[in-house]
């Protein structure tokens, strides 16, 4: 498998990269980051960009910065870096998710920004991006703009990133007290992609009831989505296991599940309820355990389950 021939550019700055994109016919140039999704698609000739603009060496686009208000993650930060970053000790959902993306070799080169911008309908990070209410920072010919997670994905392999624009950073609100987040998924063993993936974030009030929940779902619809109605129903609930199970069993009306050779729509719906329950359960445990300064980053298996050692 050999990709169709293309022109390869390695601009030295973000401005130059934008100029490279604008100088080509619209839709013919693609950004190359880790290449872990784009290159296989090009080998299968599902993608045939005439130009690749390699941004992976641009300075300042990788790394994690924490401030009082925000957690800022550079678009070129690799999955592996997110899996072991000390800055993310209070955000265990990142290590949990990074630990299940594909396999170690892919995680060393693939990037968070690349995964979001590629917008594969079964990628893992979109669920976390939605649940943690992230914002995509874009740089383009009109300067910078910020797009909330919910407006970012527009279709299968489609996002709101416009002509000449480049995703530079993903920004999340800083973790609050009494909050926790988790990701649970069912994995397609052959590809390492999610059949169903659910990320959940819970914030508790002083009495331990759910003050706010946000739930991101990937692998179910053509476009990853927030389970808004379930979020509403969770408000004010004391999140005991039985309560979470019952609420998840009442269904997620936003789901319009895909049917494909991997899973029929009703099976996806069933798995969605189960993984919503698991993600919420773990998010709740973390919210309850969240004491400022105390990290939690237990290792997890490929399916996002905690690793149990004998």
């Amino acid at each position: 498998m050999i990709p169709a021939a293309f022109e390869y550019l390695r601009p030295r700055s973000l401005e130059e990269a934008v100029a490279c994109l604008l100088q080509r016919e619209p839709g013919t140039a693609a950004i190359l980051a880790g290449g872990m999704s784009l290159i296989p698609a090009m080998k299968l000739r599902l993608a045939r960009p005439a130009t690749l603009v390699d941004i992976v060496r641009l300075r300042g686009l990788a790394g994690i910065v924490r401030s009082a208000e925000h957690l800022r993650i550079g678009a070129l930060t690799t999955h592996a870096a997110l899996g072991g970053a000390p800055e993310l000790a209070r955000y265990p959902v990142f290590a949990e998710t990074a630990g299940v993306v594909a396999d170690p070799q892919i995680r060393h080169r693939g990037t968070l920004g690349g995964s979001l911008a590629y917008a594969h309908p079964a990628a893992d990070w979109p669920a976390v991006f939605l649940a943690l209410q992230g914002e995509a920072q874009l740089f383009g010919p009109q300067g910078r703009r910020s797009v909330p997670a919910e407006d970012f994905f527009t279709g299968i392999f489609e996002t709101t990133i416009g002509a000449g624009e480049i995703l530079t950073e993903i920004r999340f609100p800083s973790v609050r007290e009494r909050s926790g987040a988790a990701y649970s998924r069912m994995c397609l063993q052959a590809s390492g992609m999610a059949l169903v993936g659910v990320a959940a974030q819970i914030m508790l009030d002083a009495e331990g009831r759910i003050d706010h929940a946000s739930i991101g779902v990937t692998g179910v619809n053509a476009v990853p989505f927030r389970a808004r109605s379930l979020e509403m129903r969770l408000r004010g609930v004391l999140p005991a296991a039985a309560a979470l199970r019952d609420l998840c069993a009442t269904g997620i009306p936003e789901a319009e599940p895909l049917s494909d050779p991997h899973a029929a729509a009703d099976y996806r719906l069933q798995m969605l309820r189960i993984h919503a329950e698991r993600a919420l359960g773990r998010a709740f445990e973390r919210a309850r355990a969240a004491v400022p300064g105390l990290g939690y980053s237990a290792p997890v298996t490929r399916d996002g389950e905690p690793v149990v050692r004998p």
């Binding site: 396999d103 170690p104 892919i106």
Partner: protein
């Protein structure tokens, strides 16, 4: 046609400079340009792990990496492991032989390069850690138990060698 690009890369400690088409993958670059055939080509789309090499010390898929992307990088392949003066196999290679970690051997260079990285970072891994590290490498004949045993044996020998 697109212009050829210059690639300067250090492979197994030796520096190479070549002009290549941008669409040339690293594994084809290693095999066809540098005639290093030890790195194998399997699925060609990033699932099987046969083509695993170390890129700046980290395991990566050379079938999903373009040669132009490793310009300036340091690449380590299976050919680097054998002792250049005595010709002896590397302890990890010898452990795969002794513990029957291979039958046809086609997947073995990938498994061994991944093991090189694992044991460098974690000289005494648990079975669970070995399994997680080898998650991206497939074997279609030996089965994984003897590969696990090979990695355990290699880890033990390397630790003993360090103490001796």
């Amino acid at each position: 046609m697109t212009d050829k690009q210059r690639v300067c890369v250090t492979v197994n400690g030796r520096r190479y400079e070549r002009w290549v088409e941008p669409r040339l993958t690293l594994v084809d670059f290693l095999r066809h340009e540098l005639h290093l055939g030890g790195t194998h080509v399997g699925c060609e789309h990033g699932i099987c792990g046969l083509c695993t090499v170390l890129i700046d010390g980290r395991s990566g898929r050379s079938c999903l990496t373009l040669a132009v992307q490793v310009d300036g990088a340091e690449v380590t392949t299976i050919e680097s492991l054998r002792d250049p003066s005595t010709g002896a196999l590397h302890p990890i290679q010898q452990a795969f032989v002794d513990a029957h970690g291979l039958q046809c051997g086609f997947c073995t260079p990938g498994f061994i390069m991944t093991t090189v990285e694992l044991l460098r970072e974690n000289p005494d891994p648990s079975d669970e850690e070995i399994k997680r590290a080898l998650d991206g490498n497939l074997c279609r004949c030996t089965g994984y138990q003897s590969i696990l045993a090979s990695v355990r044996l290699a880890a033990r020998r390397l630790r003993e060698g360090r103490e001796a």
